[in-house]
């Protein structure tokens, strides 16, 4: 049994500042350890440099891993300077001003807008009904602001009866960006897209990118003044832009520096995502969800105005519950927009529905495709009934 402690006595305990005690030789020992610590960090730097520039490992996946944390700008420079880049390289995908849309078929039953999820859906639709003619318009990882912008270009070039607007829950936060580089620098998608804003509830175009094609990107990277102007546009308009993650600097030359940048960029993404998507759904007091809702409604209205039936396909990423549907349910209901909610067929809390690359597995895509075709058939039936 312990005795009552000293504070229970009548005398006040002394009130000295904490004493800092140093045992003899402790500082020297700590100093030696710290010296060796710094030496090993330096050795690591030299080793990484030597092994991954002077040996066959220069093209290995480990080198790629150690390169991830390089600035987005450095990645873009490496990409545009890679000789003999294949035509399906990401460098050439998603641009609004490269004229590629003109090479797509002009008269189709269905136009599918969106990103890779939409592309998988289009493939599944083709598998189920090969006779349905399609054109696919979008960009890798494209958010709805990109979709809306590319639709503005596309609608001048085609005739279609139905349009799928594919949107993912993960890309809601991206409608306030002009490029995905700050948030997702591991896998650069170089294309830029316009920045829209809400002005008293009305959709307005706030800024256009100065760079709208791979050729313009090459020119800008070779023209410091132009590149700095582009960075200034991003700094002023891209809600997630951060120079530390985007623009080239001295850390690009250090293995540890690159690892630090990568770690910080992942945490930056995490914090940014949490500011838009809370534990109970999208935060409607944030700009991104509000803008997303307006863009969706606007695009559906414009499609109807040109006599195209819109079908919205909501792709919920793993762990995102049914938040995407919750965000736009009232719009879909009030405007009577037909839609497919991935969560109705493949629950987002079941990781078995997803592939390792975060996309849905093929069985899920087939279910979404089947439902999309049912909506198309129902609309066709209504149309023929009306006629």
């Amino acid at each position: 049994m312990l005795l009552p402690n000293s504070s229970t006595s009548n005398s006040e305990p002394p009130e000295p500042r904490s004493r800092f005690l140093v045992a003899p030789g402790a500082i020297a020992k700590l100093g030696r350890t710290a010296g060796f610590f710094l030496l090993f960090l330096a050795l690591f730097e030299v080793l990484i440099w030597a092994v991954f520039t002077r040996t066959p490992l220069a093209n290995s996946s480990i080198r790629q891993y150690l390169w991830y944390g390089v600035s987005y700008e450095a990645k873009l420079r490496q990409m545009v300077n890679t000789p003999n880049l294949p035509s399906n390289s990401l460098l050439y995908a998603g641009w609004l001003g490269d004229g590629k849309l003109q090479s797509l078929p002009r008269d189709t039953d269905l136009t599918v807008y969106g990103m890779s999820f939409s592309a998988n859906l289009a493939n599944a639709i083709e598998e189920l009904r090969p006779k349905l003619s399609q054109r696919l318009v979008g960009g890798p990882g494209a958010p709805l602001s990109h979709t809306y912008a590319i639709y503005q270009v596309d609608k001048q070039l085609r005739k279609t009866r139905f349009a799928v607007i594919g949107v993912t829950s993960g890309a809601v936060q991206e409608v306030v960006l002009m490029n995905r580089g700050t948030l997702y620098s591991d896998s650069p998608f170089p294309y830029f897209f316009p920045r829209y804003k809400l002005d008293h509830g009305q959709l307005t175009l706030a800024a256009n990118s100065l760079i709208n094609s791979p050729a313009e990107l090459r020119t800008a990277l070779d023209t410091p003044e132009l590149w700095q102007r582009q960075l200034a546009v991003l700094a002023a308009n891209d809600a997630a832009y951060h120079r530390f993650f985007f623009a080239k600097d001295f850390l690009d030359n250090s293995a540890i520096g690159r690892l630090v940048r990568r770690g910080m960029s992942k945490r930056y993404l995490e914090a940014y995502s949490h500011s838009v998507l809370g534990p109970d759904g999208f935060r409607l007091d944030q700009e991104a969800p509000q803008l997303f809702r307006t863009l969706l409604r606007q695009m559906a209205q414009e499609l109807r105005a040109e006599n195209v039936q819109p079908i919205v396909v909501l792709f919920s990423l793993q762990g995102h519950a049914d938040y995407l549907h919750d965000l736009v349910a009232d719009i879909l209901r009030d405007d009577a927009i037909p839609y497919v909610d991935s969560n109705d067929f493949c629950r987002s809390n079941d990781s078995g529905n997803y592939l390792a690359d975060l996309h849905f597995n093929h069985q899920c895509d087939l279910k979404f495709a089947q439902r999309t075709l049912e909506l198309i058939d129902a609309a066709d039936k209504r149309r023929s009934g009306g006629e």
Partner: protein, 470 residues
Amino acid sequence: MLFNSVDFLVFLAVVYSLYLLLNHRWQNWMLLAASYVFYGWWDWRFLGIIAFTTILDYLVSLKIQSAASDGAKKRLLSISVVCNLALLGVFKYFNFFVGSFISLANHLALHLSWQAVHIILPIGISFYTFQSISYSVDVYRGQIAPPRRFLDYALFVAFFPQMVAGPIQRATYFLPQVVSPRQIELDQVSRGAFLILYGLFKKSVIADGLAGSVNSVFNAATGYSSLDVLIATYLFVIQVYCDFSGYTDIARGVAKLMGFNLSKNFKTPFYAESPSEYWTRWHISLSSWVKDYVFLPLALHYLRRGGGKLDEYKPHFYSMLLMGLWHGAAWTYVLWGVYHGAMLVAWDVFRVPRALGKKLLKPLRIALYFQITAVSLLIFRASSISQVGRLLRVLVAGGAARVTVPPPPLATLCAIPLFLVFDFAAYRHSSDLFYRRWPDAARGALVAGLLILLVMGWSNAPAEFIYFQF
């Protein structure tokens, strides 16, 4: 505010700078204010609960101290225990118990309906509530006197490094450190800094890095093989250990920087050979709490009653059931407690130690008990009893040796062998201080290696500490 966040680094830098400038009394005031800021960072409404617990138990302890009769002391202690348990009951178990009752009633064709009340679970409530209860009991038992200053007691309850996930401190051990002026030794600071680095390494590089692989099975309804379940379970064993012990290391490290010593929570638990040994190695602060405040009084009670063999085992079961329920309001935790209770009893009934001692070498005994621990953690991780059944069925059924569990990130794959070697060395030396006897160059290399891996693993998606939910 997570330990593995930049916010916390800034917070700690500010708090530590002030700490070094102040005298003892102002240090305690500042630490109390910092602890409330730290706790209120999650939700300022939590502050009312911890303040209530603190004031209640401090006042009750003063009354117990001055009470004239044993009966009065007992009544006062009851007030403290009942109020603390009521807080836990409302904030942690209300929906669970009412929901379970309604479910049972509906099974019995009594058609009741009920809308779950949305009650926010204050983070770490189980930790500081148990700490506070133990203080009241210790005062009642005369093992410690209430401190003269309320400030000291309030800091004992709310000390930020350990408030939200332990280790649960005993007043007899920790309160004197709060009350008396502290000395800071350079040696202690360097040990504290190492513990913080090692804790961050375990949490950010290993635990967070393994989350994706573990979740790929435990968050999936179907589509996994027996090998997937096996791998995910083993990975979860490493994940939960690194997550919880990582938190403890950081808490102990931060406390050491300021001249405090927090009690240990882990001693290489996966080298246990038996259930009773396991509970001297895993979550020691909780298991020793349950032993001292539940198991021993119960054992004494049944011993006095002079019951049969069954009575002898009841304290094991009740203690483990409490441990299970302490973790949370879910039937999986109840099952987890029952499972561990059953293991304790089985080891005794079937005289497993002697049987195994004859036939098996020590490494095999350790390996065998590790499998038992792994099953308990499968139950712990599962989201429902039906998932436990499903996973165990798949595990036992065998079948195709197909693996769909995604591999952890490179940093995690590099870190796990280092961690296992470190843990094994700690086991062999019966101390995790073994590295301090290494030559300077080896220590420098160890710290550099940990830092490089930490920087590599910093890109793993940061998650809350698993034990924050308790």
